[in-house]
Symmetry: C2
Subunit: 408 residues, 2 copies
């Protein structure tokens, strides 16, 4: 039997009672004969409470100190879970991110893992201990505490599974698996038995909050089989792996949607060779994620539109205005109150009519498409957020996701 | 101007508002031109709350995991205080115990500092930054998080002051200085202007909770001048240094008292050469602190009495019974409900009648003395805890501590 990495999120460890339940799930896996590494998040609302305290002190708390503050959340969980495992008679030991050898880049608030020195974890595993690791956090080469940003504990779990050559990484969460679309909003949503990394990646990046995209990327790159499953129910979850069983090979496998989107249009950008790259390099340097990009040329000037998360708008505008000398432009227009709706499925590669079908469905429902972006297995549209749920329901029904072709 | 180390305890940093006030006190010192290093404890009741969670999981939480858990408390405070300093426009940076190079021995819950690598702190100090360090915690050579036990933040502060060759270490607390005895219980208690390390050490070890004895020891060994002062009032505190001004050289300078004492008597201990040492080595190995020791010989057997804290009694009895083969004895008697009352003063060295005077006062008040222990500058008596406050009041009055000879 090999190594299994289990990851439990904040809701699953939200109270002492829930931590004891998690200990049971961990022990079940251990009893099956596996070596078990557990990655946990901060308890329930802990992170939010820490952020509130920081905001009572500063509107813009220093990012290094914020990482110092937030890293305590997972440290509390690992010690309590380890105590619970010991109490139930299982040998266990906890490690913070820096103890577990999670070296990250030198960025606070959103660092990426550079390498993992697994020696510290492998020794106790060999001694039969359950190893409990703090998710979401790491350390720079200079010994500074960093955090991995939203969903970082997923990334910790998958990166550890890859580094330890684990058989599998189980992501325990408050849903029972990956659904064709978000069941909290769309009644007909159904659980998928399996899904490919690429499909999951598109779904994850498009706002399906089950699994963090960086974690899926990591899993794909290192071929780590993932399973998304419930921390309370015992039913099988959704397997994420390279090959997906044929009978499920629907053209459209899932639908993702997210609101709080803003379109930014830079009018009259100079047509210099480096203009475009300067804009997006500058935004990236300030960690503003740009999603859909549309460009149109005129004779001498370019109009450039892109979408960002609405709460990045203030910083994006400041950055663009401060760096106007680097990429001169005439003016900037913005439109908030937008949403993105996307269809995902690896079957699209060989079926060129899918995008056209999507546009036709939206048009029939009277929904105006403001931006479009496509990849081999995805079509995204930006529409008014007031029409988001209606758009998803129509697409979900028309592409056959509401019916029994997808096994529940 | 040199380096000043400031230490703020849990009450002083008990809320976000109080942390902002602490930032003001830190900035005042910085504005006087000093390099400032600040050591802080966990916020108010944080440690207690963490202990409650641990106890919901286990009656005897694993000590390594307990250190992992408790170390988060100070980490929260250092980040919030540093944010507050930055918000007020002062450059500052926080370090955990392990980042600050606090290497301790490999004992969980009560580790001693072995060495401090100050490089990480000196660099930002030279750049003009205020350095905020987590008290109470350290790291072993193997990278395990440890805590220093009760009052550990005092020790962190003094040890840092010694390692950095600081001009002074200011211990900010919720009292305005060191008093002749505990003013919460004894109305006539008066603040001392200064006191010697040895006197403070005796007072601290005897339960005057102002300052941790290990911190005073450290300060004495490295000649670090200490000042105990209020974190809210601006008045001068009590200076602790080698030489004490003559006008204050009372014979008895302070009175300490503590309840929750238990006497343990081992009857019929074999008179082997190693018997005594075996008993106390065994107790020490289990981190049970023994205070007063009294021994009486008969022809072949020894009776041995010693005092311990009442809440160590259960573990002490288990240890003594388990190791009976190592030091055979007839039986063990215990007496709880006791208190220790002590007089301290360096003037006693040249004044042999002080102990006798103390016994006479207690005897006049009808108080039975159950154990006695003396050092060059201290006389301790163990009495019934119901008589403790009355004994202290009588001694405080008779030794002249209630009057104006001690400057307030």
């Amino acid at each position: 039997m090999g190594i299994i990495v289990q990851k439990f999120g904040g809701t699953s460890v939200g109270s002492v009672e829930k931590i004891k339940n998690v200990a049971e799930r961990v022990i079940e896996e251990k009893q099956r004969g596996h070596d078990v590494v557990v990655v946990v998040s901060a308890m329930g609302k802990t992170t939010d409470q820490l952020v509130v305290m920081a905001n009572e002190i500063s509107d813009y708390p220093n990012k290094r100190e914020m990482d110092m503050l937030l890293a305590t959340g997972e440290q509390v969980t690992i010690s309590l879970l380890t105590m619970a495992l010991l109490e139930k008679g299982y040998d266990a030991v906890s490690y913070t991110g820096w103890q577990a050898g999670m070296t990250t880049e030198s960025v606070h608030g959103n660092a990426r893992i550079l390498k993992i020195d697994t020696e510290r974890i492998e020794r106790p595993l060999k001694e039969g201990k359950i190893v409990v690791v703090a998710g979401f956090q790491g350390i720079t080469e200079d010994g500074e505490i960093t955090t991995l940003g939203r969903g970082g504990s997923d990334t910790t779990a998958v990166a550890l599974a890859a580094a330890l050559k684990a058989d599998k990484c189980d992501i325990y969460t408050d849903v029972t698996g990956v659904f064709t679309t978000d069941p909290r909003y769309i009644k007909g949503a159904r659980k998928l038995q399996s899904i490919s990394y690429d499909e999951m990646l598109e779904l994850a990046q498009l706002g399906a909050s089950v699994l963090h995209p960086r974690a899926v990327e990591y899993a794909k790159n290192y071929s780590v089989p993932l399973e998304v499953r419930s921390s309370t129910e015992r039913e099988p979850g959704t397997i994420i792996e390279e090959e997906v069983s044929l009978e499920e090979n629907l053209i459209v496998r899932g639908l993702a949607f997210e609101d709080q989107i803003t379109r930014v249009t830079i009018n009259g950008l100079s047509n210099s060779l480096t203009g475009l790259s300067d804009v997006f390099t500058t935004l990236a340097k300030h960690h503003i994620n740009v999603d859909i990009i549309i460009q149109s040329f005129s004779d001498e000037r370019t109009n450039l539109s892109f979408s960002i998360k609405s709460n990045d708008l203030k910083e994006a505008m400041e950055v663009l205005e401060k760096n106007k000398s680097l990429f001169p432009y005439e003016k900037i227009e913005t439109e908030s109150g937008l949403a993105k709706v996307s269809i995902v499925g690896s079957g699209m590669v060989s079926n060129p009519g899918v995008a056209a079908e999507m546009f036709a469905i939206l048009s029939e429902e009277g929904i105006q498409i403001k931006m479009v972006s496509t990849s081999e297995i995805k079509v995204s549209t930006v529409i008014a957020d007031s029409q988001m749920v209606h758009a998803v329901e129509s697409l979900h029904e028309t592409f056959g996701l509401s019916h029994s072709t997808v096994r529940a």
